[in-house]
Amino acid sequence: MLITIAWRNVWRNWGRSLVVIGSIVIGIWALIFMLGFMNGFTISYVNGSIRNEVSHIQVHHPDFREDYDIEFNITDGVARTKEILKLPEVKAAAPRSIVNGMLSSPRKAGGARIMGIIPELEKEVTRHDSLLAEGVYFTGDQRNPVILGIDLAEDLRTEVGSKIILTFQNENHDLVAGAFRVTGLLNTTSPIINKSRAYVRMEDLNRILGTDDDVHEIAVYLNDPEQVPVVMDELQPRFDGMDIESWRSISPDLELFLSMTDSFLWILVGIIMVALVFGIINTMLMAVLERYRELGMLMAVGMNRIRVFLMIVIETLFLSLVGGPIGVLAGFLTMHWLGIQGIDLSAYSEGLREFGYSSILYPYVADKTYLIASSGVIITAILGALYPAYKAIRLNPIEALHTV
């Protein structure tokens, strides 16, 4: 009966109830939408970084990441990469020979990291063949081809077809150089690649370096990102003494970025809860004051404080139980639809690309978000009900009944 009364009370002033229900719906929907948008950004950034730059797992000589010296290599790297490729979890793996060097065009010179790659393997890992702004991906039979990050090429004031000289130290710390022809420009979502990477064939680089099958890095891309720990465990014994790192430790910024989105969830939940709580307090206080005499009568005839309190709380809860599911459903449908459609941000994507985002955003929220949003609203409703309910039980029946 308490529940019946509470439920009917909700619809007593249905206009006012609808305003509260409406704000709950909008609150939840906005929460889900904003998070979905945020997540979409984060995920596109993180996935983009993994896909085109970091990959899931990298193998290095333990000293290599601290001090990029040519001698910190993985012996027999190419052969061992082929072994890795046999693992069922692995989708692609690519060895890289790496030096830091100087690139000079006839007009300008600048530093860059030179990656000696095996194009057939590399393109499966980083898909750089699909990210060329100009030129071709190591298909011509030109000698010494080099592909530059698009911004690097601009810095060097060079273009596809031009020659540049690559200078770097060999194993004996002697300066060596080679002439390369620019055959393509890479435009990725990674500012690092765009500004400071040059890709050459490993055979060309190692010939100049005087090494042959030694590499500095093996990048591994998996079918399923969840498999990272499993594959790392499998690689450990094969690469005894080498560092095997996941994308999380290679790019702690990605991890940070993901955890920031998580904190953002709680901040948003907090803001929306605070806004709702005031709306609910206000509405329920009005409802209580409006029914002052009735509540006085109820207490006079023997309805105890606990019941009066519960009645107000249940009534408030009903508001959120009506609004909550509608908001969650609206949010869910919006996410579902946008998750398929994506939001085309190409109008703004020039700016976004600078920061490493791709131009179509696919909003996404984890299932727990719906749960958090719903329970957040229910908690808010209860919190918002406390003060009005307290007001209600403090009233003096005689005074309330005499209020005209």
């Binding site: 009735e294 005839v301 023997g302």
Partner: protein
């Protein structure tokens, strides 16, 4: 009703006084009121405005405390009860009919009648049959599923009376139950209360200004300036 029941004291007030200190000059609303009400009585508390009728009924009903004196209801000294115990005591022992706003607007007439029984945790079947038979007795069967807003003032008060009755209290207090009714409805309500008094043996204590209502009482207690100035029993 058996004579033993008839003589049993339901309410006894001893020297109750009530002084309000809300304004600068204290107002003494009741002065040494001694009143004994026995089971089955049908009593009107009368007196000019401000004579203390409401104050007395509130104190008897445990809604207010006297400044001094004691009220014993069926053996319980209610001035010794704590606030929460008092609410519970009211629920199980006292029926109330107010001047207005008696009913819960979102409940139907039948649900309103069942309401106090529900708070008393009576069985559903018992509640329903009692509510329906009482509604029938007061000629409101066809209004059972109608909300108070669709009832006339007189019908609402009748529902309020049978709601009080349904919960089987020791007595029913009604502070000016007819004040908002036209004289015909007022007379009807009083007739109905008198009938319930006879048929159910329910004790009624009500206050009124209305001479036609006073005429229906079997005992009339007159207050003036917070004092009982006359207490007459009629035949």
């Amino acid at each position: 009703m058996e004579t033993t029941e008839e003589q049993k004291t339901v309410i006894r007030t001893t020297d109750i006084s009530k002084t309000y200190h809300e304004s600068k000059i204290p107002v003494q609303a009741l002065k040494d009121v001694d009143l004994e009400i026995r089971h089955g009585e049908f009593i009107a508390i009368v007196g000019p405005s401000g004579s203390g009728k409401t104050t007395l009924l509130n104190i008897i009903g445990g809604l207010d405390n006297p400044t001094t004196g004691s009220i014993i209801i069926d053996g319980t000294d209610i001035s010794k009860l704590k606030e929460s115990q008092m609410i519970d005591f009211r629920l199980h022992n006292i029926g109330f009919v107010f001047q207005q706003y008696n009913l819960i607007p979102v409940l139907t007439a039948r649900e309103n009648v069942e309401f106090i029984m529900l708070l008393q945790k009576k069985h559903k079947n018992e509640m329903e049959s009692r509510a329906m038979s009482l509604l029938e007795e007061v000629g409101l069967t066809d209004k059972a599923n109608v909300r108070p807003s669709e009832l006339s003032g007189g019908q609402q008060q009748r529902v309020a009376v049978i709601r009080a009755l349904a919960s089987r209290p020791k007595f029913i207090l009604a502070d000016e139950p007819t004040a908002n009714l036209d004289s015909t409805s007022a007379a009807n309500l009083l007739d109905m209360m008198a009938r319930m008094n006879r048929e159910e043996g329910m004790t009624f204590v009500f206050s009124t200004h209305d001479q036609r209502v006073i005429d229906k009482a079997r005992r009339v207690v007159t207050l003036e300036d917070g004092k009982i100035i006359s207490d007459e029993v009629r035949s």
